[in-house]
């Protein structure tokens, strides 16, 4: 019995690691574990089911991520893996790991800033430039190249940059 349990927990870990290594196709420096999109891995015999949560309702990367997870699990030796989408609790940028935030910054995307209040109808936000770390930045557009980003510009180094929005 003990052996079986150990076997199961090892298997589950292997499945988790395989799924956790899948990257966001739009931001390839971040894994779905960094993003907090990977919610659960459930093992039933040899079959594995992975639960993910969408960042935004219409994020087109989610379909791609689901396919990539299935491929990764098949490569890790799991047959007919399943990916399930869970909506609750709703994804938040608070789930992004510190490691993920560091990677984003290094990649040139300003990570979500916990202090900003998304509820304020018109709020001042201070976003740090990921290039030169200046606090003198301005919002260019609330919406950027993907659902999760806004477009900002640094007033010090003049570089435009993506900001991963607080959500």
């Amino acid at each position: 019995m003990v052996t079986v349990l150990e076997h199961d927990s090892e298997l589950r870990q292997r499945a988790w690691d395989a799924a956790a290594g899948v990257v966001d196709p739009e931001i390839p420096v971040l894994t779905i574990a960094d993003l907090g999109v990977l919610r659960d891995v459930v093992l039933d015999g040899d079959h594995v089911e992975v639960a993910i949560t969408p960042t935004y309702s219409g994020c087109p990367a989610m379909n791609m991520i689901a396919v990539e997870i299935e491929v990764a699990l098949e490569r890790a030796g799991f047959r007919e893996p399943k990916v399930r989408t869970v909506l609750s609790p709703a994804w938040t940028t608070d789930w992004m790991s510190d490691e993920g935030r560091r990677k984003l910054h290094a990649y040139g995307i300003a990570p979500p800033q916990a202090s900003s209040s998304r509820r304020a109808l018109f709020g001042e936000q201070a976003v740090t430039c990921p290039q030169c770390n200046s606090r003198e930045t301005e919002l260019l557009s609330e919406f950027g190249s993907t659902s999760c980003k806004a477009l900002w510009r640094c007033k010090s180094c003049r570089e435009p940059f993506d900001y991963f929005k607080c959500h």
Partner: protein, 258 residues
């Protein structure tokens, strides 16, 4: 042979999910019509992003409606294989884009409602609707902020932008009453704690409108005559044209996939 319409067994719960799904899909489609045509790059991205959010919300709601119905329909069939009289969306969201001011006023009226609506729906006794609400609420808050900033910029801008924004408000006003209505079936869902009474949101909706429209130096119409019909399938002439474009592929090549 073109694909035939599906029939939907509209129990109160199915109809409830379908109505909200239709709102999100039709408005999302309208906004997607701006893709490549918006007055500036940033707005092209903004309107397309909002469209994506809405279409994502629609997918969740259609999937739930299909599951609640339990007759083998799915999100695609519900979106592509119902005719105009089977659509249950608000008349507001099917109104044409018009000029940029009209698109943004339509968005502002809807988002100011959706923001309150989804926040209230987070405590629904229906777990799926509550989960969809928790996601949609965050997105709606962002959509409202975007639209509000534009209402102020247009109203407080040039004579031309101000005149166009006011004309859009006057034109679309009569389509807002429908958001706060509930029929008998919905009353039962409200009583069961599954739905929220939209009438209770009207006061706060008016507060949001008054604040933003006031700051924009525009004014809200005094008239209280409201157009209705969308919720029971009686639409303006515009929805049929929208659907003919939205559904053309599935109607022409039934079951076609990418």
């Amino acid at each position: 042979m073109p694909a035939a319409n599906i029939q939907v067994s509209e129990t109160p719960l199915v109809l409830y999910a379908l109505r909200r799904a239709d709102d999100a899909l039709v408005l999302g489609h309208r906004l997607s019509e701006w893709c490549g045509h918006a007055p500036m790059m940033e707005e092209d991205m903004a309107l397309s992003n909002i469209a994506l959010d809405l279409i994502g919300q629609a997918r969740e709601l259609y999937t739930y409606a299909a599951k609640a119905e339990g007759k083998g329909n799915d999100e695609d069939k519900l979106a592509y294989l119902r005719d105009v009289r089977q659509y249950r969306n608000l008349l507001l969201v099917e109104q044409p884009n018009g000029d940029f001011a009209q698109t943004l006023v339509r968005q502002f009226f809807y988002s100011a409602f959706a923001d309150l609506y989804w926040r209230a729906m987070m405590t629904s006794r229906d777990a799926t609707l509550a989960a969809i609400a928790a996601k949609s609420e965050k997105e709606s808050a962002y959509h409202l902020r975007h639209a509000s900033e534009w209402i102020i910029r247009l109203g407080d801008g040039t004579d031309e932008s101000r005149q166009r924004a006011q004309a859009a408000i006057d034109h679309l006003w009569a389509f807002t009453g429908e958001m706060f209505a509930a029929d008998e079936g919905e009353r039962a869902l409200i009583h069961a704690g599954i739905a929220v009474d939209p009438g209770t949101l009207r006061g706060r909706w008016m507060t949001t409108l008054s604040e933003v429209v006031g700051e924009a130096t525009l004014h809200l119409p005094q008239g209280d005559w409201m157009q209705q019909g969308g919720r029971s399938g009686r639409h303006s002439e515009h929805l049929g044209h929208l659907l003919s474009e939205l559904q053309s592929m599935q109607r022409t090549f039934p079951g076609q996939t990418w």
